[in-house]
Each structure stands twice: as structure tokens, then as C-alpha cells.
């Protein structure tokens, strides 16, 4: 490893932080080991001469039944993979904690930059493979390695019988590698490497059980939709380089100030960057891939599609806070899109029956919250919600994983082929899975915003900031699409409250239908329902504690039960300037207003839960098979507003049809090949045919022509008197 620290003078250079390159390297090593094992386990080399040995030479069935893993025997490399897969993550987490401790000991005025090697040096473009360590990336690294470790451990249990066990851990390790690269990359292109890399791993993991078309479709969809966002990110980088002249975070921070404040250029940069975020973080209009992504194994949904990857957009905006704080219109756009997404996804979540789909829309909705936060310049609040969301959403997903695991086992034992993820087939699971039930209620209360759980603090901080910015801040001064910024922010605040209400409702609904009421899984199955093994519940407990206590990370002044605003202080070197620029000087509300805001938020959450408990009757539910098709608005919600169908009809089908009929058959085969290429060949042939008609074969004719030619030539060359 070429470790040539460029900022050797940095206070961190002499600490354990100099080994920051080990952070991504560890999961990469894990990937290489697990990947090799995966190939070794299944590979069967072909014959030396494949064309001589007919392909029907051997017909041994490989028995590749990738169907949710019910093989009695564990994988032959299960032992070493179980050691390496979570092991590298735990090591990385330990290192991250060590670096964190070291970082607390020094003043972080500027980020610690470790240049490994030059990546793309071309002319005045210098892109290095450089890792950047600062408080923001530290927070992300801790979340990724911490939550990641727990999910890896959970996976050991969840995936234990899967024939693709090493492959699963290889992908998961690779994902962590790219995710760490994303948050540690010292410039936009390197961030983009991680950005695309996590998308790739997401693709591979969604389509992990690739033998089912739906899964492969979902993976492909995720990748392509993300690519649309990446297009925006790319254009943002082009704009940055062309106008700022650098793609390093440091260089951009240094030179971005030269751009005109709120001008077209900076706004375009931010909007294009946000397009990238809508792809990766599943915001309108590119959110459609995330619900489908639930086709992957549930721990994957927890890690990638809830806790880490999908929050990369939030990280990107926080990372680019200096740019966004110079583009108020773009910031308002972020907030508006975030709030719309939050509400929109929450409404869909109301009517989903698949337990994972509920959580997926909940994730989209919560991501919308984070974007509201970073959109209004409350970067700390956005990141804070990112962290707490990572805790409780990972918990919810893993909990649902436990439930699905249990349902699956039960169905497997009774050879039932029902849907193990549909809540209509569950009910009353509290009796069988008390630990999971308890922990998932903690998470539900957290996401609904009930104090003192983590979600309450982060959500309240976001909404409070929106309210505060609605008057007297930089954002309230500008107009957005002709509407005063203050009005826009009030609307955003209202939408945020509305989606908070819906969140409380649909989460309670999910809990009621899953754990309460009578059990609908069937008489025979009930005997097989049981709590998951300790290796799965253990991580749940840890996440439960984090979800309950995560609010202590950033306590508001009103609730002084610990250190006030710890995260805010921690992130100050990174986002402080931008936050102050947007918030203006008179940032804080009066105490009474804040109390009122907190009161409203808690009241809404309580109301939501109450509505759900009183209005929903789990006892009245029937199983999926017996349920009638829903009608009216419920049907629209259940079908997610028919957005997928709309995109398909409006964009995908026309593109494919145009490509096939107009471009390929029309232009390529018809016009160019048919008319121009074969046409000119035809013309040449026609000309040749004409010429050949002169060749009558009649010597007499030739003689005539010859003679006349001779006379003509002679007379032409003769000079007459």
C-alpha cells in the first residue's frame, strides 16, 4: 500500500488515524476471500475442448435451488465465511472507534487528507485516490461499520442455509468497502466511485436470488434508475470542474466562493447534484426502485436500503453544504422534494400488505425527512436523523427479517407455499416472538416520534429548524418558482407534520397486524413459530438500545438530560459555515415557541398511534388468499399511485419501441443499410447491367462501333487545310 500522507503535519497524522486506509481495505479483503471461496465452492471447470465435447455430454443436475435457502446442510465453507465476513467488519468498527477516540483528542480545523496515489492526472485536472477524514465522514464511518457489523452478524443466522452463503458475504463486504470509499473519498470522483460501487452491490444483492425473474428485474431496475441520478451527479461534476476548476472537497471549498451567490451556475450544480441524490436516496421522481429492492435478502434491505446506502444522498448534500448554502433556490427545491416524498411515500405505506414494502415506503418517507433537514440548511439535523434512522430502521428491518424467518420456517415445516411476508398471513406473533415484539415496538415509537426515543429528537430538530427558517433566514428571503421562500417553508413544515401523522399510523398498523390480534398463519404452522436464534436477536437488542438512546447524541437545550448538541458541536467544522450562512444571525426561536413545537410533534405522534389503535381491527383481517381486491383510493394506494405503470407506459415502452422500430429497423436496416448501402450497391449493379447490355456479343456491332470510333478519332486528330 502506497501510504504517502500528504498532510503529514496534520494533528491526526501521528495517531491511529494514519491507518485510515485499513478501513476500506478490511472489507475488501473480506470480499476477496469470500468471493474466492464462493467461486471455489461452485466452480466446476469445463472440458479442455468445449467444441469437441458436446454441450449435452453430461446431464448432472446441479440442484441449484436458490429458493430462499432450505438446504439441510450448511455450506461447506460456512465456517470460514462466518468468521471472515462479520470479522472484517468488526475489525473495521474497532479501528473506526479507535480513530474516533483519536479524533476527539485533537482540534479538527481542517480535514485529515491521506493521498494514496494519483488516480487521474490529466493536464490541470488532478484526481487523487485520497481519503479524507473529518467529523462528518467519521460519523458515517461509525454508522456504517457499527450497524454494518450488527447486520453482518444477523446475516450469519438469517442466511445460514443458503447455498450462496459465501457469495452473499462477498457482496456484503464489497458493499461496505464501497460505502466506506464513498464517505472517505477526498474528492467528488472518488466519492462517485463509492457511489456507483454501492449501487453495483445493491444491484448484485437485490438480484441475489437471481433465478427468479422478479428479483433480477428489481436489481436491474435499481441500477438503471440510479444511473439516471448518476447522470445528474456527473453533470454536476462537469459543471464544478468547468467553473470551479477543482473536484477536491478542499479545492471546491476554497474556490466555490468565487461563483456568484445564488447564480445560475451554482444553482445548476446543486440541482444536478440533487438529481443524483434523488436516485441514490430514492426521492421523487426516482424513488421507484427502492420498494422493488426489497426483493433482496432482508438484512440487505436493512443495511443498504435503510441504514447506509440510501442515505448517501444526504451525506452528499451535507458534504457539499458550502455549495448548497450558496444556492438557496436549490436548497428550497431539496426541501420541497423531500417533504413531498415524505408525504407521498407515507400515504402509500398506509395500504401495503407486504411487511417489507411498508418499511420500504417508510424509508423513502424518512429519507424525505432528512432531505427536508439538509434542504433547509439544518445539516446537523439531517445527519442526526440519518444516524437515528439507521438505528431504528435497521432494527425494524432486522426485526421484520426475524418475523419472515420465523414464518418461513413454519411454512417450510408444513410445506405451505403461502407468502411469508404478507401481514395478512401473520398476526398475533407477540406470543411466539416476545423479544422481537418488544424491540420492534421500541423502533416503532422511535420512528413515530415519541419521546424519549431517538426518532423524536431528530425529527423534532428537523421540523423545528424548518419552522425557524421560515422567517428571517436566507431561505425565507428568496422566491421559489414565484412563491416566497417563507411560505414554501411553512408548507414544507405542514407536509412534514402530515407525514409524521401518517408515519405514526402506518407503523402502528404494521405492528398491530403483525404482532397483535389472532394468528392467521394457520393451525399447523402455529406450532412451528418461534423466536430466532440468539445470533439474530443479539444484534436486535443492540440496535434496540441504540434506538432508544440515540437521542442523547444531540439533545436540544430544552431537554438537558445530558450533553447539549453533541453532534452539532462535532459537525461544526464541516457544516458550521454553511449552516450559519443559511440560518442567519437570529437563528433561535424563543423557548415558548420551541416548547409549542415539541408539543405539537408529540401530540401528532400520539394522535396517529391512537387513530391506528382505535380504527384498525386486526381481528377482522383475513389471510391474503381470502382477501378481496381493494377498491377506490385504497386500490390506488395499494398500487402505489400506478407510478411504475405510468413510467413504463410513458418512458420505457416508447424508448424501447422507438429504438427497435424507428432506429434499428427504420434508420439502420431501412435507411442506411437498405437505401444507402444496398441502394448504392443496387445502383452500381443497375449501371453494370446497362453497360452489359452494350455487350451484345454481336461482333458485327462491335465492328461498327470500332470503325465509327476510329473515324471519329482520326477526324479529331487531323488538321484540315
Amino acid at each position: 500500500m502506497m501510504t504517502v500522507p500528504t498532510s503529514g503535519t496534520h494533528a491526526l497524522a501521528s495517531t491511529v488515524a494514519q491507518f485510515v486506509w485499513l478501513l476500506p481495505l478490511l472489507p475488501l479483503i473480506g470480499f476477496l476471500i469470500n468471493g474466492t471461496l464462493s467461486l471455489l465452492a461452485v466452480a466446476k471447470l469445463g472440458p479442455d475442448d468445449p467444441s469437441a465435447a458436446g454441450h449435452d455430454a453430461h446431464h448432472d443436475d446441479h440442484g441449484h435451488d436458490h429458493d430462499h435457502g432450505h438446504h439441510a446442510a450448511r455450506h461447506k465453507f460456512a465456517g470460514i465465511v462466518s468468521l471472515v465476513g462479520p470479522g472484517v467488519l468488526l475489525l473495521a468498527f474497532a479501528l473506526a472507534v479507535a480513530i474516533f477516540v483519536a479524533m476527539r483528542g485533537v482540534e479538527m480545523h481542517e480535514p485529515y487528507l491521506l493521498t494514496l496515489f494519483q488516480w487521474m492526472p490529466v493536464g490541470d485536472l488532478h484526481i487523487d485516490a485520497a481519503l479524507q477524514l473529518d467529523p462528518l465522514s467519521m460519523v458515517m464511518v461509525l454508522v456504517i461499520t457499527g450497524v454494518g457489523s450488527l447486520i453482518h452478524i444477523f446475516s450469519v443466522g438469517y442466511m445460514q442455509d443458503d447455498p450462496g452463503y459465501p457469495r452473499y458475504f462477498a457482496y456484503l463486504n464489497l458493499f461496505v468497502f464501497f460505502m466506506l470509499l464513498l464517505v472517505l473519498g477526498g474528492n467528488y470522483p472518488l466519492l462517485f466511485v463509492g457511489w456507483e460501487g454501492v449501487g453495483l452491490c445493491s444491484y448484485l444483492l437485490i438480484g441475489f436470488w437471481f433465478s427468479e425473474k422478479a428479483n433480477a428485474d428489481a436489481g436491474k431496475k435499481a441500477f438503471i434508475v440510479n444511473r439516471i441520478g448518476d447522470f445528474g451527479f456527473l453533470v454536476a461534476m462537469f459543471l464544478l470542474f468547468a467553473n470551479v476548476g477543482s473536484l477536491d472537497f478542499a479545492g471546491v471549498a476554497e474556490n466555490a466562493g468565487k461563483l456568484p451567490f445564488g447564480g445560475v451556475v451554482i444553482t445548476a450544480i446543486c440541482l444536478f447534484m440533487f438529481l443524483g441524490c434523488t436516485g441514490k436516496s430514492a426521492q421523487i421522481p426516482l424513488y421507484i426502485w427502492l420498494p422493488d429492492a426489497m426483493a433482496g435478502p432482508t438484512p440487505v434491505s436493512a443495511l443498504i436500503h435503510a441504514a447506509t446506502m440510501v442515505t448517501a444522498g444526504v451525506y452528499l448534500i451535507a458534504r457539499s453544504s458550502l455549495l448548497f448554502s450558496m444556492a438557496p433556490v436549490a436548497s428550497l427545491t431539496v426541501a420541497v422534494v423531500g417533504s413531498l416524498t415524505a408525504l407521498f411515500a407515507a400515504t402509500i405505506g398506509l395500504k401495503q400488505w407486504d411487511i417489507k414494502k411498508v418499511l420500504a415506503y417508510s424509508t423513502v418517507s424518512q429519507l424525505g425527512y432528512m432531505f427536508i433537514g439538509v434542504g433547509v440548511g439544518a445539516y446537523t439535523a439531517g445527519v442526526f436523523h440519518l444516524v437515528t434512522h439507521a438505528f431504528f430502521k435497521a432494527l425494524l428491518f432486522l426485526g421484520s427479517g426475524s418475523v419472515i424467518f420465523a414464518m418461513h420456517r413454519a411454512y417450510h415445516a408444513t410445506h405451505n407455499h403461502d407468502d411469508a411476508q404478507d401481514m395478512r398471513n401473520m398476526g398475533g406473533l407477540r406470543k411466539y416472538m416476545p423479544v422481537t415484539w418488544t424491540l420492534m415496538w421500541i423502533a416503532t415509537l422511535a420512528i413515530a416520534g415519541i419521546p424519549p426515543f431517538a426518532g423524536f429528537f431528530s425529527k423534532d430538530e428537523i421540523l423545528g429548524n424548518v419552522f425557524a427558517r421560515a422567517h428571517g433566514s436566507m431561505l425565507s428571503e428568496v422566491t421559489w418558482l414565484g412563491v416566497p421562500g417563507g411560505t414554501v417553508l411553512f408548507v414544507v413544515w405542514g407536509l412534514g407534520l402530515a407525514s409524521a401523522l401518517l408515519t405514526a399510523i402506518y407503523m402502528t398498523r404494521m405492528m398491530l397486524y403483525t404482532f397483535h390480534g389472532p394468528n392467521r398463519s394457520g393451525q399447523a404452522e402455529q406450532g412451528h413459530l418461534a423466536e430466532a436464534p440468539w445470533i439474530m436477536t443479539g444484534p436486535l437488542v443492540v440496535l434496540g438500545i441504540a434506538s432508544a438512546a440515540g437521542g442523547w447524541l444531540n439533545l436540544p437545550e430544552l431537554i438537558p438530560i445530558g450533553p447539549i448538541g453533541a453532534l452539532e458541536k462535532w459537525l461544526e467544522p464541516v457544516v458550521g459555515v454553511a449552516t450559519k450562512r443559511i440560518a442567519g444571525t437570529e437563528g433561535h426561536e424563543s423557548v415558548s415557541t420551541e416548547q409549542m413545537l415539541i408539543g405539537i410533534a408529540v401530540a401528532i405522534a400520539v394522535v396517529g398511534i391512537t387513530i391506528a389503535i382505535t380504527r384498525l381491527k386486526p381481528a377482522a383481517l383475513v389471510t391474503k388468499k381470502e382477501s378481496p381486491a381493494s377498491t377506490g383510493f385504497a386500490r390506488v394506494l395499494e398500487h402505489k399511485y400506478f407510478v411504475d405503470e405510468g413510467y413504463d407506459a410513458a418512458i420505457i415502452q416508447p424508448t424501447v419501441a422507438t429504438s427497435r422500430v424507428v432506429l434499428w429497423k427504420g434508420v439502420d436496416v431501412g435507411l442506411i443499410d437498405g437505401l444507402m448501402v444496398n441502394g448504392s450497391a443496387l445502383a452500381a449493379r443497375a449501371l453494370g447491367w446497362l453497360g452489359s447490355q452494350l455487350q451484345s456479343g454481336q461482333i458485327g456491332t462491335y465492328a461498327w462501333v470500332l470503325l465509327i470510333g476510329v473515324i471519329a478519332l482520326l477526324s479529331a486528330f487531323t488538321k484540315y487545310h
Binding site: 465509327i708 476510329v710 473515324i711 482520326l714 477526324s715 486528330f717 487531323t718
Partner: protein, 180 residues
């Protein structure tokens, strides 16, 4: 014969043979029967042989009679008879009236053109080589033999190859191949 009549005598015979050649060649092209045509062509060649001799090319004149009139034309007649083409009845030989008219016109145009060519002020080097100071030939064979076996030896030798090839070609072509 006295010398003073010699030019007159010479001219008379020259024109006589010339006219003979002209007339018999005209007869040749107008005959329908191939045999008759061939005979008229032979007559033309004899007249030409006489002219050659009068032009001090006695060797060529003899060759004309031997090779052309003797050998080549015999081959022609031989073929005509072999193929039994003696009677012109089955042959749609001659072109139509307009064709003949046009051909005659073309022929006249050609003559006129050739005449004009000799009289045109064209750079003579293109028409005729510069007159050399080679003494007029005495008509003896030696004067032909000298350039033939010196200057044109290679060409002369090559004619033997040509003839050989022609013999083989003729044999191969005329052989009955459809016997199988």
C-alpha cells in the same frame, strides 16, 4: 524493250494490276457464295503480288503468292468446303439495304479520312518516319534478311513460337471434343 517506254510500260502495268486488285476486291465483298468470294480474294492477292514485284519487293511478292494465295486461302476454301457452306441459301449473310448503304458511307469516309491524313499539315513524324538515307533496296533477299536476322532476330524467333502456339491451338480447338 527499249528503256524509253519503260516508265509508260511500268505505269500501265501498275495501274492495270491496281485496278485488278480494286475490281476483284470489290467483287470479293459482293459475292454471296463463300467459294466465289474466296476465289475473288485470291485474284486480289495475285494482283497485289504483282504490285509488290513492281515495287521492287520481289521476295514479298513471291511470299504473297505462296503463303497468302497459296496456303492461307486454301485453308479458307478447305474450311468452307468442310463445313459445306458452299451454298449461301441458308445464310442470312448480307445486311439489309440500309446497312449496306451505311457501310458504304463509312468506307468512303474512311478513304477520305486516310487521304486527308496524308495531306494534312500534321507533324509528319506522327504520320511517317523521317526519310533515312538507307539506299533503296535492290529487291534481293539479302536486303530483307539483314534486318530480319539482325535487328529483328528476336521477333523473328518469336514468330516461330507464335506459329507453334497457333498450330497447337488449332489442333486443340478443331478436335472433336463432344465425342464423350
Amino acid at each position: 524493250m527499249s528503256n524509253q517506254f519503260y516508265p509508260l510500260f511500268y505505269s500501265f502495268h501498275f495501274y492495270l494490276f491496281g485496278l485488278m486488285a480494286l475490281a476483284s476486291s470489290l467483287m470479293f465483298v459482293t459475292r454471296k457464295s463463300p467459294v466465289a468470294a474466296a476465289m475473288w480474294l485470291v485474284a486480289t492477292m495475285f494482283a497485289l503480288a504483282a504490285l509488290y514485284i513492281m515495287l521492287d519487293a520481289q521476295f514479298v511478292g513471291v511470299m504473297q503468292v505462296l503463303v497468302y494465295a497459296g496456303a492461307i486461302m486454301v485453308v479458307f476454301l478447305f474450311v468452307v468446303m468442310l463445313l459445306n457452306l458452299g451454298s449461301p441459301a441458308d445464310l442470312n449473310d448480307m445486311r439489309g439495304k440500309w446497312g449496306r448503304l451505311l457501310a458504304g458511307f463509312v468506307g468512303l469516309a474512311l478513304v477520305a479520312e486516310l487521304m486527308a491524313l496524308t495531306k494534312s499539315p500534321l507533324d509528319l513524324r506522327l504520320v511517317l518516319p523521317a526519310a533515312t538515307d538507307v539506299p533503296p533496296t535492290g529487291g534481293v533477299i539479302a536486303s530483307i534478311a539483314a534486318p530480319m536476322f539482325k535487328e529483328y532476330l528476336l521477333a523473328f524467333e518469336l514468330t516461330s513460337v507464335l506459329l507453334l502456339a497457333a498450330i497447337m491451338g488449332a489442333v486443340v480447338l478443331a478436335k472433336k471434343t463432344d465425342a464423350r
